[in-house]
């Protein structure tokens, strides 16, 4: 996987000296090595994708390049000259511009003011607004934008703002452009606008770093890709010589082996929920889904592929643009989580700290929260009943705690996750959505939660479980839906459900994937 020939793959026509060369970059944080001897070479006129799962070190590498972090070892050469920027402002000045996923421009300023902040055209010691607007108009026309630079930035869409941010970075820096997930909040048309801008800049000879989770986009726009895993470079590849499958394999670092799935298709139970064309523009393309009683649908896909979005749409946490839901054959409306709870839905969100637990409330109160909400606050659940429910779940889920009265934030991650699960189980849902139920918890709790999913399924509950752990999905799913670039690309059933097939479907290898 780390063969030397591939490591030094260079794009065709890159005989000249590289624009930027980083060698032996290391960065240590207390207790962890975030970057370990990382090398990256960028040529003029190259779009270089930087890939890796979350925590692989992409952001850290970018921050070391832009001076936001101080690297602990290594050399960065820009056009052959060693540089050590100590701030993003300094790296901008040297020639390295960065554009982030969140548009980092000021909403209260005009387009022109944003473009020229800090380097406004002056006349007689004062900022010349007229020249600033005129120059901004000319610059933005180059980027294919016909906007009024005197208008507030917020008048324009995120895509336009993104292009303005790129224009600012390029005009200020002009050598290396780092795009950190620039397409994450854009829809398809907007991505194309962005790509046309990137192609122009490539032709102008900039070295462009493109960070994204969308593999299709990587292959569409990039020349080379460097894949990071656990803070190390696992390979640099010329993209026209490899398949998406190869890249995914590099990213996940997984030995792909066929493991036969031994579960029978779980579509035997009666139909519970039918979803037709549910979607939201710019978030998730319309999808359809039929869920039977006693079925566990696994939701696979890379980060940002739309897993969480699908969970939130189903639960009404994010209102959908269109589509219908039918439960037990009758059409229902789920416009918000309250509706969802009333129809017997439950959702354990991905980020339990910010979306799930109420940290300072007791474990007991956290467990009965959803049940109480469902009953209505005017009809309090009797104290004795509350204790009974809480104790029941603490026992059955084996939640380890000192007392029911302790604030839930003091519990360990796995126990918090179980308490959160208890909260929703207490409402006896018909349909339980779990978003990354095993993220960030220890191995023991991991196995228990997987066992619990099995038990719930056997009792006739229907579940939708989003996870990035392939083996885990294989273990409990009766069907697996694969998402990529915010749309459903495959559905695997029965014996098709293997980690290998899931990875292939994620990477869209037509030879073996989409079944």
């Amino acid at each position: 996987m780390t063969d030397d020939t591939a490591q030094i793959a260079t794009p065709p026509g890159a005989q000249d000296a590289p624009m930027l060369r980083a060698i032996g970059i290391s960065k240590f944080f207390p207790g962890t090595i975030a970057l370990d001897d990382v090398a990256l070479t960028l040529h003029r006129g190259e779009v270089h994708a930087l890939l890796g799962e979350n925590g692989a070190g992409k952001s850290t590498l970018i921050k070391c390049l832009t001076g936001a972090y101080k690297r602990d070892a290594g050399v960065i050469e820009l056009e052959g000259v060693a540089i050590t920027p100590t701030s993003t402002a300094e790296s901008q000045h040297l020639g390295i511009g960065t554009v982030y996923q969140e548009v980092n421009l000021l909403p209260n300023l005009t387009v022109a003011e944003n473009l020229y902040l800090g380097r406004q055209p002056m006349r007689g010691g004062l900022v010349s607004r007229r020249r600033m607007v005129a120059e901004a108009r000319a610059v933005l026309a180059d980027y294919g934008l016909d906007v009024d630079p005197g208008e507030p930035l917020t008048r324009y869409s995120v895509a336009v703002q993104q292009v303005v941010a790129i224009a600012r970075a390029v005009e200020m820096s002009g050598k290396v452009l780092i795009l950190d997930e620039p397409t994450a909040s854009l829809d398809r048309d907007e991505v194309q606008l962005l790509f046309s801008v990137i192609r122009k800049l490539k032709a102008r000879g900039l070295a462009i770093v493109f960070v994204t989770h969308f593999l299709d986009q990587v292959f569409e726009i990039s020349d080379r890709a460097t894949v990071l895993r656990n803070g190390r470079v696992v390979g640099t590849r010329l993209l026209n010589t490899v398949s998406q499958h190869d890249i995914v394999t590099l990213m996940l670092g997984r030995q792909l082996e066929a493991k036969v799935h031994d579960r029978q298709g779980g579509t035997a139970g009666e139909m519970l929920l039918e979803v037709a064309d549910l979607g939201k523009r710019g978030m998730l393309e319309p999808f359809s889904l039929a869920l039977h009683k006693g079925e566990v649908i696994g939701l696979a896909g890379l980060l940002g592929s739309g897993r969480t979005e699908m969970a939130n749409l189903l639960f009404g946490a994010v209102p959908a643009d269109g589509g219908t839901l039918r439960m037990h054959g009758k059409e229902i409306r789920v416009a918000n989580p309250r509706d969802a709870v009333r129809h017997g839905f439950a959702l354990c969100p991905e980020d339990r700290k910010t979306e799930g637990i109420v940290g300072d409330l007791s474990v007991r109160d956290n467990i009965v929260l959803a049940l109480q909400a469902r009953q209505g606050w005017m009809r309090p659940i009797p104290r004795a009943k509350v204790n009974e429910i809480a104790e029941h779940y603490v026992r059955t889920l084996d939640i380890r705690l000192a007392s029911l009265d302790m604030p839930i934030r003091l519990l360990s991650g796995g126990n918090q996750q179980k308490a959160l699960l208890a909260r929703w189980l207490a409402t006896s849902p018909d349909f339980l959505i779990l978003d990354e139920p095993t993220r960030g918890i220890d191995v023991g709790a991991h196995a228990e939660i997987i066992a619990l999913i099995e038990t719930l399924r056997e009792r006739g509950m229907s579940l939708l479980v989003a996870s990035s752990e392939m083996e885990e999905l294989v273990a409990y799913s009766t069907r697996v839906i694969v998402l990529r670039d915010r749309r459903q690309v495959a559905e695997l059933t029965g014996a098709q459900i293997t980690a290998d097939n899931i990875v292939h479907a994620i990477a869209d290898d037509p030879a073996r994937g989409a079944a």
């Binding site: 993003t88 909403p107 902040l117 800090g118 607004r129 917020t154 895509a159 398809r188 606008l193």
Partner: protein, 330 residues
């Protein structure tokens, strides 16, 4: 071209013109150069300090110390002129240096210790007021020939209005303030800071320099307002100008500047000052109303402007959402 960001400024301007016309229709003598001249003279110190406050609020901060700084400057000048033979101009320069340094120190505290401006300037308010008390607890009269000369400078307009030096100083301060805010890089950095400090930092705005500069300007202008106030009252008194910081904040907000920072105009504050002065003048003309009605009307105006700003913010977010939702690129 009229843009939506100019709307609060336009509303302030229209409010002022309407209010002035309304007062004029009831008491025609309000429409005289005499009243206008007095409006400028009586509000000179408030106007000057409100220019500094505009910068502070534009950057998303607040400066509660200015009222105390005005009183401190007044007492300092009075004591110096009473006890030493220093020339008033030297004393003025000394006062400006002290107050500017005081403001800069507060700005440095806010930036480097990452403290909320509210708390830092609240401490500054107590410090300056306390320092004024230490200098003198009594009202110290200023009796100096140079003061008489300065107070005697005026331009007599047709209709008998006397435009005095301090009113002119306020107008000049507003003009310089507007140029600095809108036509210099520092001014643009102030707006950037108000739009979002984190983003401004990523865009390369020098945060420390800007924050310290903003509070230094506010402190320095409070010192200048203190000089003007001592010329206005010919005395220095440690109990004077209590609560003036709040009047200044009110003038800035009525002038259309968003209290959360980032949006507003120095010129708006000028009309905010004039509106507040006009209310006071009206009450004097009426003669039967308690002067506390000033506070009630200012309170209502403030409330109206806050509602207006909320409405505008809401309107922009709705439009923004619509813009984001549509794929069409303009």
């Amino acid at each position: 071209m009229i843009r939506s960001t100019h709307l609060p400024l336009i509303v302030t301007l229209v409010t002022f013109v309407l209010a002035f016309a309304l007062c004029g229709s009831q008491y025609p003598s309000i429409l005289s150069t005499r009243v206008v001249a007095n409006l400028l003279t009586d509000n000179a110190f408030l106007g000057i300090v409100a220019v500094g406050m505009t910068f502070v609020i534009l950057s998303g901060g607040i400066d509660l110390s200015v009222g105390s700084v005005i009183a401190f400057t007044g007492v300092l000048l009075a004591v110096i002129l009473r006890d030493t033979s220093m020339h008033p101009l030297t004393a003025f320069a000394l006062a400006l240096v002290i107050t500017t340094a005081f403001g800069a120190a507060m700005g440095a505290t806010i930036h480097y210790l990452e403290m909320p401006p509210f708390i830092v300037t609240l401490a500054g308010m107590f410090l300056a007021r306390g320092a004024a008390y230490v200098l003198s607890t009594d009202s110290v009269p200023i009796d100096h020939a140079f003061y008489d000369t300065l107070q005697g400078i005026y331009w007599k307009a047709a209709g008998g209005g006397r435009f005095r030096l301090i009113g002119g100083l306020m107008v000049v301060t507003f003009i310089v303030g507007a140029v600095v805010a809108h036509r210099t890089r520092f001014g643009q950095n102030v707006y950037a800071l108000g739009g979002g400090a984190q983003t401004a930092k990523l865009m390369g705005v020098p945060l420390a320099q800007t924050t310290i500069g903003i509070y230094a300007i506010s402190g320095g202008l409070a010192g200048l307002a203190g000089i003007v106030f001592s010329l206005y009252t010919s005395a220095g008194y440690s109990l004077a100008t209590v609560g003036v910081e709040l009047d200044a904040i009110a003038a800035v907000v009525i002038g259309g500047t968003l209290l959360s920072g980032g949006y507003g105009f120095v010129a708006g504050t000028f009309f905010g000052i004039l509106i507040m002065g006009l209310i006071q003048t009206y009450i004097v003309f009426d003669g039967t109303l308690s002067s506390w009605w000033t506070k009630i009307v200012i309170g209502m105006l403030l409330f109206a402007f806050i509602l207006l700003q909320k409405g505008l913010t809401w309107a922009t977010t709705v439009r923004k959402r619509r813009a984001t939702g549509s794929a069409a690129l303009s």
